[in-house]
Symmetry: C2
Subunit: 167 residues, 2 copies
DNA sequence: CTAGTTGCAAAGGCTTTGCCTATAA
DNA sequence: TTATAGGCAAAGCCTTTGCAACTAG
């Protein structure tokens, strides 16, 4: 539900950030596409298609799930969106512009915490190369259970402190 | 297709390694279960349900896919099998006894290369703890494209040399 | 004997698609 | 105007399930 952004007006014809990316790639900007682009731009979490559909329908009821499916697929092919699989059988999406980060999923609540680790990708790249491969992409997800005491003793040390955002 | 092991005789009533694990956990050993256990024991790759069904049917045609689905699910719950997702929408399985290792998937052929990295899990555990979580499990898959020159210069260095087995 | 297992086919959950209408450029 | 996109509902894929018959222990 946490959706920042300005006017969430269906009649708002101005482009969202993702809408702008679509225009850059020469995509035809239909009303539906604009709305979906806005929803994606405003999303601070990792919505699945059903949730995108729900949010988009709020802004403009003249949208079908099929269109949402077609749009996320298109945007993924264009490199604007990234598909995630956090378990549960449904694909979830986030904007590529959110940058490199990984996810830790709370096994009890399903909540997702993002974190960064600059060294990790380089390490995986080296491993792939040693095996004779050029690293194209990778998937890393941690599944964890919330600790009772929030580790008051030691401070952040090696990997950059994650944004800690639970989305 | 690469299946080692001895007699692949349907009438063979002796237990495979995974069959023994089933007995240990007190599972009722039906003919079908025994056959599926043998197929899993002999598998040196990461078969999906359809492939398991094909191999099992070869040993004993009186097996239905439903039983294969039910069996892999059961064995996964018992911790005997592990489910993998290498993309492509179907679950793939391997015996837990194969030990800790990760997978690199060739994006062009789909072939899977296994590798080890002892430090990786510990690193992830530390990251999870810093975020306030106890690491329950994780998922790591690399996707790569085969390099032309097989890196003749440098030898293995940091992470233990993977088994390099392409399965 | 009886709780647990299997086959079969139907049902489910997510995603894609065919077809015809609507529309951006 | 004309190639593209959208709506709707049907179809596809993988997986699960209801139910009656079967079987290991």
């Amino acid at each position: 539900m946490a959706r920042a952004g300005r006017s969430a007006n269906a009649a708002d014809t101005s482009e969202s950030r993702i809408g702008l990316l679509c225009v850059e790639r020469g995509l035809k900007m239909t009303g539906q596409r604009r709305v979906i682009a806005r929803v994606l731009s405003d999303a601070e979490d990792h919505p699945d298609v059903e949730e995108l559909y729900r949010r988009a329908s709020e802004l403009d009821p003249r949208i079908s799930v099929a269109t949402v499916y077609r749009t996320v697929r298109l945007l993924e092919e264009k490199g604007i969106l990234e598909r995630r699989d956090f378990g549960g059988g449904r694909a979830r999406y986030e904007a590529s512009e959110h940058g490199r980060h990984y996810h830790l999923i709370d096994v009890e609540t399903g909540k997702v915490t993002e974190f960064e680790d600059d060294e990790h990708e380089a390490l995986m790249r080296r491993i792939a190369e040693r095996l004779g491969f050029e690293l194209v992409s990778m998937r890393l997800e941690l599944f964890g259970r919330r600790l009772k005491e929030p580790d008051t003793s030691s401070a952040a040390k090696k990997a950059k402190r994650g944004k800690g955002s639970v989305k």
